[in-house]
Subunit: 277 residues, 2 copies
Amino acid sequence: MTYCVALKFDAGMVFASDTRTNAGVDNISRVDKMHVFANAGDRVIVALSAGNLSITQNALNQIERAARETPGAPNIYSVTSLYDAAELIGNTLREVRNRDGEYLRAQNIDASASFIVGGQVGVEEPRLFLVYSEGNFIEASGEAPFFQNGEIKYGKPVIDRVLRRDLPISDAIKLTLVSMDSTMRSNISVGLPLDVLVYPVNSLNANQRYRIEESDEYFRDLGKRWNDGLKQAFASVPAPPWDCLAPPAPMQPVASAENPNPAFDPNLAPPPQSLGS
Amino acid sequence: MTYCVALKFDAGMVFASDTRTNAGVDNISRVDKMHVFANAGDRVIVALSAGNLSITQNALNQIERAARETPGAPNIYSVTSLYDAAELIGNTLREVRNRDGEYLRAQNIDASASFIVGGQVGVEEPRLFLVYSEGNFIEASGEAPFFQNGEIKYGKPVIDRVLRRDLPISDAIKLTLVSMDSTMRSNISVGLPLDVLVYPVNSLNANQRYRIEESDEYFRDLGKRWNDGLKQAFASVPAPPWDCLAPPAPMQPVASAENPNPAFDPNLAPPPQSLGS
């Protein structure tokens, strides 16, 4: 499994991905799911991949090869818009799936694969796209745009609650890490180390990249504080003002191992009832 | 969509379900997803249903009918173990799916349906089962047993963190409601009102049943406090001690709408790079 997330906000973008891959629970290893096409001062294009690893790796390699071997043709380092970059990635994904998909399907292997594509190209504003497995794509919009990929649900609620346009970069980093922590806690197939790339708006530089290993003290502390904070949040909710929490009424006759047939007046018992429909 | 949850702990059990059903987004209505087979002093068997509504309703109705029309035969009001109740529900689910499944499949309609089955029968300890769509079933075990059904992921992390054997009943109610609140916030097709049944251990009585409507002040307050508490938990995490949060280094030449081709020394720029694999 995979969890990737990218947040976009006024001060920039934060990208994060886990690094766990598995072909069955007995074959787990680490791979990069964050691929950066960067040319300082000109462009930063980050692709976070999820799905079939051979499909995503092949697509990214073919994109790099095209830029290397036919530099004159439009390529990931020459496109003038992130829209074009997303289209290029989507088209390459289709080519690889066309090449390999039939052979994978014949073995009932899932060939689906997708990318979060974000960053900034030249004079364009930062943009964020999701390229689906079929090669079509959408752009994030609205007040607080973000995309997730892979095991998305566990890490989504905190983003829904916290992400705002005016989030400081440090809060956005925290938010991606809390979202990662929540996901890893509930899905063991998403795991450390994490790759994080922080992109300050208009920096056109991909040099703020971090890898969070098991030994990372900040991340461990974050997980513990978040856990403690959730428990405090839970404790801050008062008890329900419900009858059932009042002192109990006299007990019904209750069977027990010692007294399996307690005195019980069937005339006092209601008939078999169904309170639902 | 549906969200149902049942918690088991030393002091009893709490069951909760939403009531929203939909056949497409333009056809939404309310149904009971909590069905109670109860006979005070003798048994409380709660079935929380998810999946195809006609399948689950038919199965429950056939179980009620069997008890009514052939009271001498083993039925949901005569079985002496919750295990037998789960088996009865699983078998009835199979009968209904056998009867209707073929017609549904012919129209590409999903006939899957499942039940959480919990409660207490006679002298047995309280037990909790999950009856799968195929009619087979499993029992919850371990230190902090619970089952969810339907849209399970958004409401699971808080249960993972808070549920313990020695949870007081009031905390268990809070926990189911916070789990419901988290789910409803992230999946609009899970909605109010909620049905909640509180079962104190050995009470053998299903009379502590509550319906939470839109106007419920306690539930609204719970949602607000949980939201505020999460934000406080987030604020309690310190900022990452990362270089990128230090005062920025001198800016790279940055293109802008006013100056799309800033002075830029290509000898200073690194070659196109890929930091990933």
